[in-house]
Symmetry: C2
């Protein structure tokens, strides 16, 4: 069973918007054992949209489009699909009532242009939109005029806004997909997330031990990201679950401490989970990461059980008055220095009574570097009941990548400390 | 002149990675006046990669691929392209020296597998990689066997890691593109970024005044995002610059105050710029946004000139001890309340002496809501020399979207305050 995704929107091809639908949809489909074999983005013009849908219907069992169902003049998908498949657009009274209700419950007048959202191609199933006005649509294309032997395909049209698309996909499309195309022995995958070894060294370490499984059909993939490398196993057929489990066992025995999680695990979630388990609290003191470390930790639901506070002490005076950093040290060593990182962590811990404090001070750039402390330099402090350590790092990246890499190293420093505590 | 982009990587189709290359490349190409007409993502298997490259070469003047040039066994692009075009892979001594130097300068042994990165298809131009080991490649496909009349196409292969791809594209690919295919009167675009009116109401407000320009060929697009709507103008031909300028003038006269910027302007950058211009300082006091507001402000280069500090007062005790919020009010009104937002802003301003203080307290969810204050409720405080105001908002989204929407409203509150000051 094959699936293709078509993302419509001139803003995608003009680079105005990041296409988050691709990852989100592909992840959900892969988790359910379905193969997405192609993703395509095309601009909002009639020929591109009709051409892309026709091509995909000529290959795939399921074609999912995103975008182009809204009320404005550049929303063309509904009309183009009706045209391509020779279906008439008919106003649907139930959809019209829902659209009216959406605006009336918010005390707003119904814009005249939303009328087009109530038009449904004949034979299409309406996928209700609980978070907006434009419904999704599902069409069984049977026989499919674009495929040899007129096989059946399904064509699903989803709205563009993520908060409308995502619940609609979960509540309406996945059940339909399971009813019409139950997943068989598709591709199964397992991903381990590691920190501490580069991509090449990881493959060198694992190639030998995993070779016997590769000959049995294990597919091995590596994906290097900032501050981590993902190791991905894939397998097909009935023996896949066993193959993946064996691969994981071997990998854990070879590079155990480097593995911080699997699947969707985020390092910040692992750290929050370990702190929660150990009933320990955390405080953060940031300079160059500017709140990004706090942001990552507070993205984790339940973070309030462990995180007491974050201090973004951007100005030196605030480092002194709030965290108690010694002004003489700030002058003699500079704000980006080992003793300042140490004093920031210890000061934040003292101020809040937290068990652990992480601090970061560095040169995010683009300006501010020197020969001794070039752009990208960061000092990361960790204070806890076992004492304080400071790690020096060099992350010579753009500003946002610098923030990510540095926060990743800070979280990894704490993860390793908590790991040592839990090991005998 | 048409361009197609092919992103290779099974991790893309499995939804393991967000495809940021598409937006990044499309944006740069659009800025230079080039049209990307199609973007495609395919998995790392030989047939998919060869098939996609063959198809795109059959249509486009330029085909740009990303990924698959690294040292691991799932990196297939170089080999598949050589196979498709009938070119031999030959080791390049200069590339080999550069790869050796990359590792030796870092004091690391050269992994044996990096050898494949030194193989170059005959006739290909090497695009040096200043931030990694695998070079990019540019191939003139002339005559192009996949196109009618054997027209010429260019095929450019770029490495997957963004910090390798981006400088290579800027330093090597753009100059090549300009040399070989100077931009003509392609599509020109202009984007205005607005806050305060929904997508339908914006189009209703602008449709009449812009109608005469639309008949002259102006293309009008709207893109609704969280907390903002982009209005996009596009035009073709020699008259495009004048058409876009007229459209902007009319739009500014109709919805002036709603426009916070144009092009790539971010609301946080606009706020930092306005504060810098007015020589005013800022402090942030966050609860539910958890550092994200600080993160956005500190993403702006030069933010240190205006931002003194950010306080992520997650625990109530820290709201009291650090910001001086009244414990009786915390008990009687709850942490998510108008007076607490007010006291957080005023306390942060007092503590640091900043001119302006923004505060946010709310229920990010998924837990913690009540009937009176459901998940998504946020109080946003703004304290300044003109006094303190508090705005109540409802952002019933997932946790990260909540943070974005709420921080957007906070920044917009400050922007409007600064706008009122600067207007007579």
């Amino acid at each position: 069973m094959t699936i293709e995704i078509i993302n419509t929107g001139s803003e995608l091809l003009l680079g105005r918007v990041l296409n988050t639908h691709q990852q989100w949809l592909c992840r959900r489909l892969a988790d359910e054992g379905h193969d997405v074999v192609r993703q395509l983005a095309v601009p909002d013009d009639s020929a591109s949209i009709e051409g892309a849908v026709r091509e995909s219907l000529g290959r795939a069992d399921w074609v999912i489009t995103t975008g182009g169902l809204g009320p404005t003049s550049d929303d063309l998908t509904r009309e183009r699909v009706a045209n391509l498949l020779g279906r008439t657009l008919v106003p649907d009274p139930a959809v019209a009532a829902q659209v009216r209700n959406f605006f009336e419950s918010r005390g707003r007048p119904v814009p005249a242009r939303t009328f087009v959202e109530t038009l449904i191609p004949t034979g299409a199933q309406v996928l209700p939109n609980r978070h907006g006005t434009a419904p999704g649509l599902a069409l069984k294309v049977s026989p499919n005029p674009f495929r040899a032997a007129g096989q059946t395909s399904w064509l699903v049209l989803l709205p563009g806004p993520p908060r409308e698309l995502q619940p609609m996909f979960r509540d309406e499309v996945l059940p339909l997909l399971h009813r019409e195309s139950p997943p068989g022995h598709g591709c199964q995958t397992r991903t381990l997330r590691t920190s501490g070894l580069g991509e090449s060294l990881l493959e060198e370490a694992l190639a030998g031990p995993l070779a016997p499984l590769v000959t049995k059909g294990l597919e091995l993939g590596f994906c290097a990201k900032i501050g981590e490398v993902e190791v991905r196993f894939a397998g097909r057929g009935a023996s896949a679950p066993e193959l993946l489990a064996e691969a994981e066992t071997i990998t854990r025995s070879v590079i155990g401490d480097c593995i911080f999680g699997s699947g969707d695990d985020l390092l910040e979630a692992v750290v929050v989970r370990e702190l929660t388990k150990a009933r320990r609290t955390l405080v953060l003191a940031e300079s160059c990461t500017g709140g990004f470390l706090s942001h990552r930790v507070t993205n984790v639901p339940g973070a309030s059980a462990v995180l007491l506070a974050g201090f973004v002490t951007y100005a030196n005076l605030v480092k002194e008055t709030v965290l108690g950093v010694d002004s003489a040290v700030l002058v003699s060593q500079g704000a980006v220095s080992e003793p300042v990182a140490r004093q920031m962590a210890e000061g934040a811990r003292r101020l809040t009574g937290a068990d652990y404090a992480l601090s970061v001070t560095g040169v995010a750039g683009p300006g501010g570097g020197s020969e001794a402390k070039p752009v990208g330099t960061a000092f990361i402090g960790l204070a806890g009941p076992e004492g304080t350590t400071v790690s020096r790092q060099l992350n010579p990246f753009d500003r946002e990548t610098f923030k990510f890499a540095t926060s990743q190293q800070a979280l990894e420093l704490l993860r390793r400390r908590l790991l040592n505590l839990s090991q005998p």
